[in-house]
């Protein structure tokens, strides 16, 4: 699916990067060895978890800080706040002026950006490696000394509101994608999504900013990842110098304790928006956490259904039936229970009901009939190749380690994931689809142009 991560800056050509990183991987017959990510890990006395990976392929280094806070931690009445806050982390600290992070990165041939998801906020830079010490200083500075002026807070909040308008209001299917979480969760704060809404963004204040920083932006709630061209002893000394002085607060870190109850019943919703030339439909089901032993099989099932031109949904709905112009199936696995989401945008002349029927029947077919071995091998090498492709750069390697920590609690999982996916069998695929789809309650969403007749 469109896994939009709300980001600080929009991509434009080659100038800025938006990451859509596929993390799954697998291998089958072909004799390719994926070199393991050789990382080192330690924890500072203040609780900061540090993972480093030396790689001298290019004279650059990626510095990343992953904070375990995201949209699910938005304060009450402040939907969208974690993402707004992410933007404000570029707006000044005790010793850094607003936008000075850009001076330290873009202006010297590097880049920076940040992204907020439901569970995590991810800040990342790539710089020529002779600038590494400065970036460590700057990341430590905004972890410990954030200081945003009111004027900068207000102008950046207006930017975030434009981001909301661009992605949700102006994009023909923006409202459709944004409806998935609210319609799929009953209790868990995942139901609010990440971007929030204009009213609650407008309600945010500088006091909220200070509270949020104090509560979540602390060394014992962060992971520092450095990958690329560095000297390990020198790097360790710099990390100690800049990060060790940051105090670990005595207060506990608030965690989301809500438990999403099992869905009691199926439900169907009709959403509308302007400028929707063709209807769209979605089906969602409750998924387990990313740490579930079923995660690998669900990722393989998702790839069988939606990864590439030859995937089941593309072949059936787009190619053969010509009922859809676009399809997607994703296992959106999160720290807490996630979602399985199938969606399709109709081809001209196809009704939402017909499209739903076709979408559902293709998924049920995979659940009921064993997948041929050759097709299983195909998705495994697809996932393997995508993983290798994503690890060509220091940033790609750091991303893989960060994902492994956030979603599996262990950077070493970046190296184990491949083995887990390789081990998935045809019967595993059937078993998880039965458990999470056939024997579960589905939510149906239909999206049509406002003012259109009911189907």
């Amino acid at each position: 699916m469109k896994n939009v991560w709300w980001t600080r800056a929009r991509a434009a050509g080659a100038m800025l990067l938006l990451l859509f990183c596929v993390m799954q991987q697998a291998a089958s017959a072909p004799a390719v060895t994926v070199p393991p990510l050789e990382f080192r890990e330690r924890v500072l006395a203040n609780g900061l978890r540090v993972v480093t990976l030396e790689d001298h392929t290019s004279p650059t280094v990626s510095v990343q800080v992953w904070y375990e806070v995201g949209g699910k931690n938005d304060p009450p009445g402040r939907s969208g706040f974690a993402h707004l806050f992410e933007h404000l982390m570029f707006k000044g600290t005790k010793y850094l002026k607003a936008e000075q992070m850009d001076r330290l990165t873009e202006d010297v041939g590097g880049m920076n950006n940040a992204a907020t998801r439901e569970d995590v906020t991810h800040y990342f830079e790539v710089v020529p490696s002779n600038h590494l010490e400065r970036i460590l200083w700057a990341e430590a500075e905004r972890m410990g000394n954030l200081d945003v002026a009111d004027e900068n807070f207000k102008s950046e909040r207006a930017v975030v509101e434009e981001e909301y308008r661009t992605r949700v209001l102006a994009s023909p299917y923006g409202r459709f994608y944004e409806s998935f979480s609210p319609r799929s969760y009953a209790v868990h704060p995942y139901k609010r999504g990440v971007i929030g809404n204009i009213d609650e963004l407008e309600a945010a204040s500088l006091d909220d900013v200070r509270d949020f920083h104090r509560t979540y932006y602390r060394p014992d709630n962060a992971i520092l990842i450095v990958a690329g061209d560095f000297d390990p002893a020198q790097l360790d000394a710099w990390i100690d110098k800049y990060f060790a002085p940051i105090a670990k607060p005595a207060t506990p870190i608030p965690r989301v304790s809500a438990t999403e109850p099992p869905r009691a019943r199926e439900a169907r919703y009709r959403e509308t928006g302007p400028n929707v030339p063709l209807p769209a439909v979605a089906l969602t089901w409750a998924a387990p956490s990313a740490r579930s032993p079923d995660a690998a099989a669900l990722n393989v099932a998702a790839a069988l259904l939606g990864n590439g031109e030859s995937s089941r949904l593309n072949q059936a709905l787009v190619y053969r039936a010509q009922m859809a112009q676009e399809i997607s199936f994703s296992a959106d696995l999160r720290v807490d229970p996630g979602l399985l989401v199938a969606y399709a945008v109709a081809a001209k002349g196809t009704s939402p009901d017909a499209l739903l029927k076709a979408l559902r029947s293709e998924i049920v077919r995979l659940a009921q009939k064993p997948v041929p071995e050759a097709e299983l091998a195909k998705v495994k090498i697809q996932l393997l190749t995508q993983a290798l492709d994503g690890r060509q750069t220091p940033m790609g390697k750091a991303d893989a380690l960060g994902e492994a920590i956030i979603y599996r609690g262990d950077p070493a999982y970046a190296n184990k994931e491949l083995d887990e996916l390789m081990a998935v069998t045809a019967s595993d695929v059937q078993r998880v689809l039965r458990k999470y789809i056939l024997d579960a309650k589905e939510v149906t969403i239909e999206y049509v142009e406002a003012g259109a007749k009911k189907s």
Binding site: A14, E106, N130, A158, P172, N275, L278, E309, V318
Partner: protein
């Protein structure tokens, strides 16, 4: 908990809660990015083979480049080059479309086919053991496509549906319309993928003729980037493409038809319910071969490339008008396109346009301060350098040089050429090419929220209702 309390009590001064250093530490000695010149060879049939070897991962990108693209579209068949490229993967003498997709993805990669303005690419990224099979598949679809009528019909329907969606997105719509307003019915006036009218007109015979004319070994380059050495690559290229015959007659050069009327007065496309206004401003610009190409790239970076450009600084960072505003100089083989685009609240569209014109005026008025220019040059140099880091990006960079007729060895000099641009060259470029009168300005959005304010600035403003728009015509109306 008690230990922490005790510790706090012992300290007379407030404890350190943060890192205490008040200035950024110094930078170390420079670590310049270097890139080796690719290996270049030519097969007997004229096919050029370009190889850039890197051994870090068992991965290879292979890209066949046809050095012609969308700029060859006949005037009434916009989208023909892209449709032809798309249909390559939809059936050959040996395989159906689903069989091709299956074969490609069983190698782990994805078979990408498509046309850009001046080049057409057929490419895959695969692990090293799959390379020979991937190359054979690329050769099969390039040399023996069947162009079945049923596949053309299917692809036409998909393209028309995708266009119907794009035309309801104010940003995309404004860009399509401003290209047409800037170039009229000239070569670069149409959307690369075609218009609703032109896509409906594409017939099989035109696709077959497009393929016969431009897909020939002396108009193509095969690029390998990754885990392969030049000798192996040449052997693979010979076995996959050695039998490809070069036609006796030379390829006629693509038409250079740039009917560039002076741009019309600003245009509003009235879209009920648009969640934002899409603002696009487009003008003809320089070709890739122009002597001032590198100054143009840097001038554009200063104006609207990257996050800290002057446009983004003023419109986003200072005024909060937009999530991002960017400009781009697309220097193509025969001419170029220069565009500026952003989305903003409907009510803010007039202010956004005024900001752009004021920043343009400033760039042309005086040379940029040395410190600012240095930073923006490094921004661009960094972006270029990062495109050397992955096999796909480097293959794309080499493909672009090849298709523009520039020796690929230039890739080794790119960074130096960007670094050599002077403040005076930037101001000279802006004066020569960036008169605000050259820009075709289009705003797509809820017209009643900005039309009056815009008309005050532009009395000649033309408002076109969304349902009266015709992207096939220079006038943009039916």
């Amino acid at each position: 908990m008690t230990r922490l309390l005790a510790l706090a009590a012992v300290l007379a001064a407030p404890p350190l809660f943060a890192q205490p250093y008040d200035k950024p530490p110094p930078v170390g000695p420079p670590r310049p990015v270097t890139i080796a010149a690719p290996d270049v060879a030519t097969l007997d049939n004229g096919l050029r083979v370009v190889v850039s070897q890197r051994r870090s991962l068992p991965l290879v990108t292979v890209e066949l480049v046809i050095r012609s693209g969308t700029e060859t579209d006949p005037r009434d068949l916009a989208g023909l080059a892209d449709m032809t490229a798309t249909l390559l993967a939809k059936g050959t003498a040996r395989r159906t479309a689903p069989q091709i997709a299956e074969a490609a993805e069983a190698l782990g990669g994805q078979l990408d086919t498509g046309a850009g303005w001046y080049r057409t690419s057929v490419s895959m990224t695969v692990t090293r053991p799959q390379l020979a099979a991937a190359l054979a598949l690329i050769a099969e679809v390039t040399l023996t496509p069947s162009f079945a009528q049923g596949e053309l019909d299917r692809e036409r329907k998909l393209t028309l549906d995708a266009l119907a969606v794009a035309l309801r997105d104010p940003g995309k719509l404004a860009s399509f319309a401003s290209d047409r307003a800037a170039f009229g019915e000239g070569t670069y006036g149409h959307p690369a993928g075609g218009t609703p009218g032109s896509v409906a007109r594409i017939r099989r015979a035109a696709v077959v003729a497009q393929h016969a004319k431009y897909y020939r070994p002396d108009n193509a380059t095969l690029i390998f980037v990754g885990d392969i050495d030049p000798a192996e690559a040449r052997t693979l290229a010979q076995s996959a493409f050695g039998a490809w015959k070069r036609p006796a007659a030379a390829l006629r050069a693509a038409r250079a038809d740039d009917a560039q009327a002076a741009p019309p007065a600003p245009i509003v496309i009235a879209m009920a319910g648009a969640g934002q206004a899409g603002v696009a401003m487009t003008a003809p610009s320089i070709a890739r071969s122009a002597a001032d190409y590198y100054p143009g790239v840097i001038a554009n970076t200063l104006l609207g490339g990257g996050y800290s450009s002057r446009l983004n600084l003023e419109a986003r960072i200072r005024r909060g008008l937009t999530y991002g505003i960017f400009s781009q100089l697309e220097a193509r083989r025969q001419a170029g396109v220069w565009w500026i685009a952003a989305q903003t609240r409907n009510e803010s569209a007039p202010e956004l346009i005024a900001v752009v014109l004021e920043e343009l005026r400033k760039v042309a008025a005086s040379p940029p301060p040395a410190e600012e220019l240095e930073a923006r040059k490094l921004t661009m140099i960094g972006a270029v350098s990062r495109r050397f880091e992955t096999t796909e990006d480097l293959a794309g960079t080499l493909a672009s040089l090849e298709a523009n007729g520039i020796p690929v060895a230039e890739v080794t000099a790119t960074i130096d050429r960007l670094a050599a641009v002077t403040p005076q060259q930037v101001v000279d470029f802006a004066k020569a090419h960036w008169g605000p009168e050259a820009l075709a300005i289009v705003v797509a959005g809820e017209a009643d929220k900005f039309e009056n304010a815009l008309r005050a600035a532009y009395p000649g403003l033309r408002v076109i209702p969304h349902d009266a728009l015709d992207l096939d015509r220079a006038t943009l109306t039916k």
